[in-house]
């Protein structure tokens, strides 16, 4: 009997532990194929309304885009197609200290609260952020690109550190010192209202000749 009670208590404790991970973000938009998993478990389909917890891993397929909002300060993060990352968040009083492990792809951030800490960790560097808007890109080789839109992002690795300001691009490789330069091309997908939709209009004249006009809109 004691063994049963003990087992029951252990199970309860385990379940309690399993569900004690902090909820840190909410998925508010999800277009295309996106998946999440917890602790190396099977991948599950990600959808609108999904609450994301500390340690959740997300990956997006071709054409997908996911928007999540952090629940402490309403900071936004958009995940573009063919990206992969791990979310980490630790609650400290009213704020959540956020660490995004970006393995691949493109992210956009709009950090609204100056007081909370957000870091993006990539294979080749770390971007530390406070109250700013920026893009974080990681390519197949693990190289990191930070494109500043507003505010300052500090990009560093073991070889050095740079500050990336508005209209500046910071780059870091696994074996190269971070550098900063003027942005050659600006990005705007993060501030677009949504993903690219396509409207096909088929034209047909009296002879039955057809043409299809594709209108892309957001």
């Amino acid at each position: 009997m004691k063994c049963c009670v003990l087992c029951f208590l252990i199970c309860i404790s385990f379940l309690a532990t399993a569900h004690s991970r902090d909820e840190i973000a909410l998925v508010i938009k999800c277009d295309g194929n996106a998946q999440y998993r917890q602790s190396e478990q099977d991948w599950n389909k990600l959808g609108i309304g999904k609450r994301l917890e500390d340690g959740d891993e997300i990956k997006t397929g071709k054409g997908a885009q996911v928007t999540i909002v952090f629940i402490d300060d309403k900071s936004l993060m958009k995940i573009r197609e063919e990206s992969q990352l791990i979310l980490h968040g630790k609650r400290e009083e009213k704020n959540i200290i956020k660490k995004i492990g970006q393995q691949l792809g493109q992210l956009w951030f709009k950090v609204t609260n100056q007081e909370t800490q957000l870091q993006v960790e990539t294979p080749s560097g770390i971007a530390a952020v406070k109250g700013t808007e920026f893009y974080s890109l990681v390519d197949d080789l693990g190289n990191t690109t930070i494109i500043g839109i507003s505010g300052i992002v500090e990009l560093f690795n073991s070889l050095g550190r740079v500050q990336v300001g508005p209209s500046q691009t910071g780059k870091a490789g696994k074996k190269s010192i971070p550098v900063v330069e003027k942005s050659e091309e600006s990005m705007d997908w993060g501030t677009d209202s949504g993903t690219l939709n396509e409207l096909e209009i088929e034209f047909e004249n009296e002879n039955g000749e057809k043409k299809t006009l594709k209108l892309q809109y957001k």
């Binding site: 902090d22 909820e23 909410l26 998925v27 508010i28 938009k29 609108i48 309304g49 609450r51 909002v69 629940i71 402490d72 300060d73 309403k74 936004l76 609650r91 009213k94 709009k110 609204t112 600006s186 705007d188 501030t191 677009d192 209202s193 939709n197 396509e198 409207l199 096909e200 209009i201 088929e202 034209f203 047909e204 002879n207 039955g208 000749e209 057809k210 209108l215 809109y217 957001k218």
Partner: protein, 861 residues
Amino acid sequence: MSKIALVLLFFCVTLTHSQSNLVHDPIYSAEQNSDIAIRARIAEGQSRAVMMQVYFKTPDAPSYHHIEMRRQGDLWTGNIPAEYTHSTLLQYFITALLNNQTVVTFPQFNPYKQPARIVLLKTQPDSRKTTEKDTIKTAPKPPPPVTGKEEAVATKELQPLPEKAQTPQQSKTDSSAAQSRPRGRESVFLILSPEPFEETQSDQLVFGVSVQDTALIDFTTINIYLNGENVTTNATITDFIITCQPENLAAGNHLFKISAMDSSHSKSFSNSVSVTVNTQLSAPSSAHFSAHIFSDLRQERISEQTETIGIGGGSFRGHYGSIDYSGRFFLTSLDTRNQQPRNRFHFALRSKYAGIITGDAYPRYNDLILWGKRVRGIEGYLRLGFFNVQVVYGQTVRAVAGSLISGTENPVQNGQTIIDSLIYKYGTHEQNLFAIRPSFGSGKHFQLGFTFAKVKDDPSSTTYGSDPQDNIVVGPDIKVVLDNSRIVLRALAATSITTRDISAGALSKQEILNTFGDVSLPFDPLDYDHILIINSSTTPIDISKGASMAYDIGIRLDYFNNLLRIGYKSIGSEYNSLANTWIRKDIQGLYFRDRIRLFSNKLYGMFSFENYQDNFSSQNINPEIDLKTFNYSLHYYPGQGLPRLGATLRTHSRNNGVTAVESDTISYGNNIDILSIDNRQNQIQRDLSIYMGYHFKLADFDQNIRIDFISGNRRDRFDEKRDSLYFSQDLSSSVGLFSLRTRFTPKLNTTLSFARNSNLAGELSEYKYTMFGLGADYMFYKDKIQAFAQFQSTMTEGTSYSEQSLNYRRNFFRIGATCFLSPGHRISLEGNIFAIRDKSDLNTIGNYTDSIFRLFYEKYF
């Protein structure tokens, strides 16, 4: 012929001028931090909008936001949310997709670069106080109407706006945080989603709230309301976050509210957000299923002949998983077995990798070989990335029987009376087409394709038909795309072999040798007559002469606001593709076209040049003709409140190089006459077109004016040197057009139009006509019915070549009404009367009246 062309040109211009457009009262100023109501509708014509959107942004914002407008009868409305009206200036434009598959905009030209502008005026200073009480005054006006008991609460609980003006992009992300960021005692709830006044679809809506201070509230007292109804049981509540995802929310405005008591139950906390669910946010292409049906019943009385015509049709499209399906049918009572088919139908299944179309298909494989020909049969494609293939098989011409006139009796020959039969009308043979085009490369950067097309008439399919033909065309095509589609290289080639009469079948190798003398084929045509019938009517029998070759090489460059296109093409005299019968033959030359955009697309310039040699192969006795065409055009669209201007000049010259008049002699009996043969061709045609359009306010009414002047002038450079009996080829004409469309109220519109045309042909025939028109439409009965009426009077006078007088008057009356039963569902009835009074010398009919009555119904699903 030229006169007909001019009349057609005139009517084309008139039609273009009266085509459907988007009617909108521009908003010149509005109050900051308030919703701006946008209203628009489609005017004139029979077109109907199926989707309308407003795009808006501040001048410094890089991209536009948009909202879907909602249909209310004929009127479309939408609100630019207050959260985007913090700045001092807002740019906007409206686009509408019509049911005739065209897109119209306001402003009409270059709306993206030259949008309409709204000056945003500051609200009264005393309304910017930040106390909770005064928040009611400064709060953005919520989109009307919010349903349910929570309406009053919603207005009170909306949060004050951020102090500083922001760009829409900033406000998109910030304002929601700022607006829904709780203040004071309400700081316990932070609304994460949706954005205030966001427009979304029901299945993409999640209501998410973060609890900022969990110790402050009693979680058991949390209540969530949707439009006043308590939906707490549908919500998920945990320590820091509360979410609720309502299902199947109806289109319209909805209010979410969350409330809770503090732990001592002495204070309450709440927050709320308004959202608009819009079912039309789904684009037609992403809809699971959509359909459209229509019927059109006409009774036409033209020249005393009365005919009733019924037309019906429909279409549908949707997708199942990754497969798209679509279908279309068009049926008319005019379809008869004695003519080529007028009905149309098809059903298609398409996916990214494969597709099949049955019914009427219009394959486009190679411009020179097969390009848009209707084929009733089956078409398919396979797209595997590097390797692709397209194939089509079906009927291009239906067998139609010819008819005979019999009964002419000839004298008795050998004791029998012979009755001659004449073919009154030639029939057509059934014609079938098979074509295949394997290709390599996706086409995004590179594609190499090879097209094979065979078209053959069935000689047994009809009697009294014209000569049945057999035709094979083969050719490659290549496309190379570079530098992000700024450079596109394209080259096509084809060669054909055609037998113009296969009724006698194929000849043997020896018979070919006997017929052509110097042609020795390496095979016996009788062995291959199932592929192509070769006989004495086959051209070319010797492919090496090249007359059956065609090619077209071109490059397109898109740099520095210039769209440049240059190429060279050659179509041999014997080149013949029965799968593309519209192609002009025996012509070769250069073409060049450049279009440039300047000053933020306010100024468009275009220059094009073509130089072709017609009849270049000299296969007949006619001389080669040099054709040169220059086109210059300039269009200026300065933007809202200013007139738009445009001018186009086209010069076309035609010169066959013959400078002397030839002579020949004709003898009849003992007489010899000298025949003068004047083959000289050296003409130049100049066409000038100028227009001005202006949209302005006068007497507080919206006015849209347009003035056009078009002139054409053809001069024969040998005119003065020709024989006096030679009809002069000189021609001059001019057309002036004026129209004024006035919008008195959103319900009443009028159109006033006037046109004057004069033509002078060879100083023999002078012809003028004048047109005056007046029309109006009026919307009533809760915008459910639109009545319209139109009157147009056209008067002509002049003399014909034979110096007989022309005096003609036509009065046209049109009256009718359209009833909008529901969105996308309408019925229309109209009558058209044409009263013709013809006093011309040539008139043998007298005065008469034609009429067309029409009943039209359509519904979108």
